[in-house]
Amino acid sequence: MLSIEFWVNTLSSAGYYSLLALAIVFVYSTNRVLLFCVGEIGALAAFVTYSAHQALHAVELPLAASVSVLIALALVALIGAVLFWVIEQLGTNGSHFVGTIIAIAFALTLQGVMNTVWQGEIYRFEIAPVFLDLGESRVALLSLVVGVSGLALAAAAILLLNRSRIGYEMQALADNRVLSILRGIPVRRRIIAVGAFSGILAGIGGILGAAVTAISLESSTLGVNAIIAAIIGGLTSPAGAIAGAVLLAIVENLTTVYLDSRHVTLMPVLLLGVFLIFRPYGISGKAETVQRV
């Protein structure tokens, strides 16, 4: 039936989709904004990692790879923080979809930046291909690593949120901002911390995604599938985001195996359509009681 290869491919897609989807869910549950620029943030992280590595490699700095990843993550953390700071400028009466259009504007601006700096070039991370022979099919170790590390990091992020005080405070903030102010939570600092944290998640997701595919302006369209995964998972629940990412990865790879790989973009959208009609708030999303139609 389904080969080991299918499951490894699905695992690796689920890896980077879950990180991107998680970033979307954290942002949405904090200020009801849909992070449309998640793909662009991921692609930018991949580009910066590649260029930083080229530069550091030329100077033979040890640990060039990990340093360049850190540089990239610092940059996307800053971008996440700036995005949230801009959305904060809208003030509390700024309705959430003005914030979403701001996220779209960020996507445009980041595309312009990547286009200007890297001018449409396409790169690949120089990772030596190592293969494992499991049964009769050959599996790339890189896909396994990307899948496992992606899901592990996503689970760690959720644990951090569900167990730590900062995690509770972020949830409290999303739940009721005025009460959070009254109980002494430094609201603005926490909101910008969520922005930075989501930027880092999206950045790691983008780097892992680029490791398996390619570093190019077009890889920001991974963000489109991540948005679908987050919505299917229910925009308000982190665990739902991972469930949505895994479901999306399965649907994508099943489409390629059984149908025509051409429909890899169409099938997730049809799946989203089905969810919107029958279960609009996703697998485990909490119903938006405030504005129930």
Binding site: Q119, G120, F131, R138, T213, S219, T256, S261, V264
Partner: protein, 401 residues
Amino acid sequence: MKHSFTFLGALFASGVLLASPALAATDAPYKIGYISDITGPVQGTFKYTYEGFKLFVDQLNQEGGINGRKIEVLLKDVQSDTQKSVNAVHELKSAGVLGIAGLAVSSTHAATYAAAANAGIPVVAGFPPNLPIILEPAEKYAFGVGEVFNQTNTITGAIARSIKKDAKRIACVSFEAPGSIYSCRTTLESAKKAGFEAAEIFIISQNQRDYRAVASNIAKFKPDIITDCLGQSHVIGLLPALGAVGYKGIYLNMETAIGDQVKRDGVKNAPDIDLYSYGRFISGKNIAKEGPQARKLQEAASKAGIKEIVAANTGGWVLGQVIAQGLEKCQGDCASSEDFRNALEKVNVDTGGLTGVNVQFTETNHFGPTAVRLYHYNRGTTNFDPVGDWHGIAPVRRADK
């Protein structure tokens, strides 16, 4: 609302001043417009054709231009956007160009041709994509010196057969764009005529970034030969993925401004793939021995610091030759774009070794006969060595007329 009205109005007014047309003079240079995607999403494919075209024009101008008049190129970067392409045509008409060359991604061609036809300006599309409307019976103002897949791919089956006599199964990989899908269809038809038993098309979706699943699908089909009609980003993603799933066999790439280095990087980690490539225009580190124009292109390129000439550079140089001969054959001092259009229909350019056959337009065929040559990638020397001679392709009629 009041203050923003004045601010927005001022912004629009200043746009009017800066973009007003340049002035005219008596023995002014021939004005040729060049529309392309220099900084847009697909610039990796198109900026090298413009680079080749500019090398030719600059070299021609140094030699005194045509009948003593230089060629002035007005570049309009439309970033593969249809609206900008149409506006660029009108801008170039106001600037008084005789003709327009280049064009960006194929989805903008029809609108650009339509706008140019209304303005009475001939358009000569460059390498790679050309619409089939330049085949016989061609649209009046539409010409092309690139690749029309419906014509080029009629020979792909024979070329694949020439590589592996006993090959039975062929796969063609295209991406989700009408032109590319149509190219693979033509390829598979020619493959069946050339004796292939099983032929299947695999289409990569619009934002397919993860090629492993497609690669394993193709491998499962167990093709003897895989061919394609893909863009740069697809080739970079697909070749390593085919290596990863353990495909051992021939990969025949159709050169559509992908560039040799991209192919080298693609197969670097896929030792079992035997890479071939075929295309209309020659490429390589030293092409001087191919012919007089090849030597000139080599000199101009090395002067401009280009270490390796890609097929798109050659395509741009030949596009320059076609425009230049059109201007030469234009009666009188080539005052109107109509004269230039008529002259273009008499063009018969000897490309001096850059292509297999002359570029020849007629009244009814604005693309003409073409030829492609097969190259084999030598992993030792990292060169693409020619295999056999040029394969001539007879002109094909338009399918919709």
